[in-house]
Symmetry: C2
Subunit: 334 residues, 2 copies
């Protein structure tokens, strides 16, 4: 032991103070200056908990902009809260930074995180930062609240329900296709290309629809593994089967143009992941209320099919009224 100054703030403390503390304005974050955060749920409420991670090279391209990576990491969690009918209450961030991560990169990351935390009313409450010899990893745990017992489950759908989907389906999978194959998409306008690429990079969580889902849906989930795969999950959990009218599945103009040029890409749109739209089952008596709620929330919803009794695999009915069969029915990172 030699003469030296007493303990100073560690590198991690300095990094947190410089980059993350300005975000932590919620009282429960305790200024990121304690070992834990506090959350006091409103009386009569359940907390909804979800955690979803992003690993560079698996879920995003390592060279994607730092702010977009941060926003995507938060949005995929916000999307789960939306589908379950919960109002965002805050999040914890666990980030593992590769050696060589620059202050500039971190500043961009925090800028994106901050913008979305504000926009969606989901404040940073705490977190954990580490260095890693591996790729960047961003793991977010998000909290939402809703009146006790009202979480929208996967397993609540019953025969006779109508199936709805928000927004448009397949844009993200087609955007990813464009990123992987630069020659694809020659038939698209620049605006159409941008639309698909942006929809892949930055999902649009449908939190505005949460209360309508909670009030009217019998079951819902967000489409992270593709419409086909996530419909299968909803049906398995509910003990029902689904039938989708493919002609009714909402496609963006860009998706429509790309599929017109290469009809094989329809399967991509229906089975590819990363939509982060919401698939909801709505009982007959609730359909009008659901539509009205969605309209009031400013979220487009489209009726795409129905729920039937039985545990047969769900079907996607094509234009010739025959069921489609898919090569690769659901997206999985495994």
């Amino acid at each position: 032991m030699s003469k030296r100054a007493a303990p100073q703030a560690s590198g991690e403390d300095r990094l947190i103070a410089r980059h993350f503390r300005p975000l932590a304005r919620h009282p429960g974050a305790l200024g990121l200056a304690d070992d834990a955060a506090l959350l006091t749920p409103p009386p009569g409420c359940d907390l909804v908990l979800t955690t979803d991670g992003i690993i560079a090279g698996v879920h995003v391209f390592p060279a994607d902009p730092a702010d977009a990576i941060a926003r995507r990491a938060l949005r995929v969690n916000l999307s789960d809260l939306a589908a379950k009918g919960a109002k965002p209450a805050g999040f914890l961030l666990a980030v593992a930074l590769p050696v060589g991560t620059t202050d500039e990169w971190l500043a961009g990351f925090v800028r994106g995180l901050s913008a979305d935390a504000d926009h969606y009313g989901c404040p940073l409450l705490g977190g954990d930062t580490d260095r890693t010899p591996g790729p960047l990893s961003v793991s977010i745990t998000a909290f939402g609240s809703l009146p006790t017992g009202t979480m929208v489950r996967r397993g609540g759908s019953r025969p006779g329900d109508t199936l709805f989907v928000t927004g448009t389906v397949g844009d993200a999978a087609l955007g990813l296709h464009l990123r992987k194959d630069l020659r694809a998409g020659g038939s698209l306008t620049p605006a159409q290309r941008d639309h698909l690429l942006t929809r892949y990079l930055l999902p649009e969580p449908r939190n505005a629809l949460a209360e309508t889902l909670r009030t009217h849906a019998s079951a819902a989930l967000d489409i992270s593994d593709g419409l086909a795969g996530d419909l299968a999950k909803l049906c398995r959990a509910s003990g029902v089967t689904g039938q989708i009218d493919v002609a009714q599945v909402p496609l963006s103009d860009a998706a429509r143009a790309l599929i017109k040029a290469d009809p094989m890409l329809l399967e991509h749109a229906l089975t590819g992941g990363d939509d982060y739209e919401i698939l909801a089952a709505v009982p007959a008596g609730r359909v009008e209320g659901f539509r009205a709620g969605a309209r009031a929330a400013g979220v487009a919803v489209t009726e795409i099919g129905r729920v039937d009794a039985g545990d047969a695999p769900s079907q996607f009915i094509g234009p010739d009224r025959r069921p489609l069969a898919f090569d690769r029915p659901a997206y999985s990172h495994f």
Copy 2:
């Protein structure tokens, strides 16, 4: 598109069903069959949130037993709950598995996780599993509850408080030293070596002391970055300074033997990380109650110093009554 079966459960779903679902017996886990988990805090309670991660090669040796890695990952979070005075309520697990992770490894991991979840009354509520091209990463978010407004902060200590520490200090840092330098520790008995190695691998979170801390401590935190570094944090947050009587710092027989053989290792014991003991400040009128509570909880606590006014760096007073100065005052992964 070709004729093929409808969507099946994905690889991730199968992995969760096989390995993790048996753990998820808490009703809030919803059988790990939904997109989120539910937590209903007791009325009149705050939720305490903490997240801490483990990356192989950074926080553990990649070849450490899978069950020990799992237990360590949970325990470092339980330790935060203990220090804040919170009762464990459950946890979420985000795990990134390197390519080639075997079922046998996963079975061991789940065995360890399950044993500690049961032992500490902290059930698995949900999670996220991914494959990673990088090293194993285990990120746990743990929840605790306590009566509203009673969380033990870092910043509540006042001049005149007595400083206590649980258990023994420095074992983990010395255990890590033994792992890194196989020639070290020649003076130890096999049992002493085992003690230090185990204390490094498997911290003992002091959750039994949580209620006593909540009732009697003015400030507390768990010692993850070393006694010196974490004392500095407590003092900075409280706006006070601390004085530690090094002769009073509790050392295990094994630590004492190792330090006797190499006195330079005393600094290691006082500044090295991973103790996961609790450092607590206790006001004068609360000292007897604190001691009695700890005795009743079966947790050894030792008075090691006092809190003074001022913001001077804290001091570790050596046997010659002069302050020690450290080469490397606090452990940091940065």
